[in-house]
Symmetry: C2
Amino acid sequence: MNLPPLIQTFVLHFGEMGSRWGINRTVGQIYALLFLSSEPLNAEDIVDRLGVSRSNVSMGLKELQSWNLVRLQHVPGDRRDYFSTPDDIWQIVRTLVEERKKREIDPTLTLLREVLMQEPASAEERHAQARMREMHDLFELLTDWYADMQRLETERLVQLLKLGTKVQKILDVKDRLFPTSGSKNRRGSGKDK
Amino acid sequence: MNLPPLIQTFVLHFGEMGSRWGINRTVGQIYALLFLSSEPLNAEDIVDRLGVSRSNVSMGLKELQSWNLVRLQHVPGDRRDYFSTPDDIWQIVRTLVEERKKREIDPTLTLLREVLMQEPASAEERHAQARMREMHDLFELLTDWYADMQRLETERLVQLLKLGTKVQKILDVKDRLFPTSGSKNRRGSGKDK
DNA sequence: CCGATATTTCAGAAAATACTGAAACTTCAG
DNA sequence: CTGAAGTTTCAGTATTTTCTGAAATATCGG
């Protein structure tokens, strides 16, 4: 590995964290390298810097492309493929959350829908199904909320995040000013807990 | 494996998804089983139902305990350890997010803080550090927001999630009614893209 | 303290995943 | 069409992770 110390620290860390994030070491390192780089890199650059095999880099880049986490581009007068990460870090977050949802949530949501269609054949299954229903409703609430957020412009999104729970106070004010509006979202009458 | 079909489907699915969620197959299956069960199970129950070795179950339960995802309890007159998941599914979400943050975000945040203290030794390192600064600030914004949300009562949290982006409209109303209040959160004056 | 029951640890086997080098394939300039 | 440059695929190897059975450890009633 052939990198300035500061960059190497970060790249190694991403490699280590890879396993916790569901990618392998090389993929983590490639991503870290691209993220830090001021200009796009080609596969050979990455081989030189990380000291892993050409084919490993090729597979890693393919994996990152399947996550939409890197962008393929071309340098004029150069036939090789160059890769980079988006400059806008919020774009990265959006992509990451989207892809994780696709891989970690959606398949389960699909399965839950299927299983909830079936007839329970015993008290045990009936209870299990009720539990799955809870999980299903939760996932649906979260994904609906997420879809909403994903639609916001970044600036608005950041504004909302910075507000945090202060939003709550505003809701209180709103309730006092317009007691009924939006009350379809207020059905906390004993059903929960 | 010895389970009613409906339950088996779900348990197998959780086993498969396990690898995407950063746990192994057995741990995923044990968790699914406990989640669906109407009463606590002991290790031997789990062995019988899943058909895996006793030691594997023991390790799996230990792993789940380290995630705070299962609760150990005792049945009067029985020396064995019984395990269950919280009845409140929101409690499960809170724990899960907390633990994932602890494992997937916090170590990186720590590393970023350290690396940002160092002096860049070249233009390349300077650019890399600027990039890390972006990531650091993003992580900090997200974790601050998360800490805020974690503090909310479940009912309020659900209310907020259901509102989704409608919150935005309320912000607009608020701005018109109280143009200056809360404006410390409105610093989109050129610094952001 | 004893022995019965329950749980954990651990070394090695089995399985899954990552990595490599070589070969196959693709693209493009001449 | 040819061959040089670039990229991908793939079979085999290495590494890591998971899983098991056996042994060690812990707990508790008597």
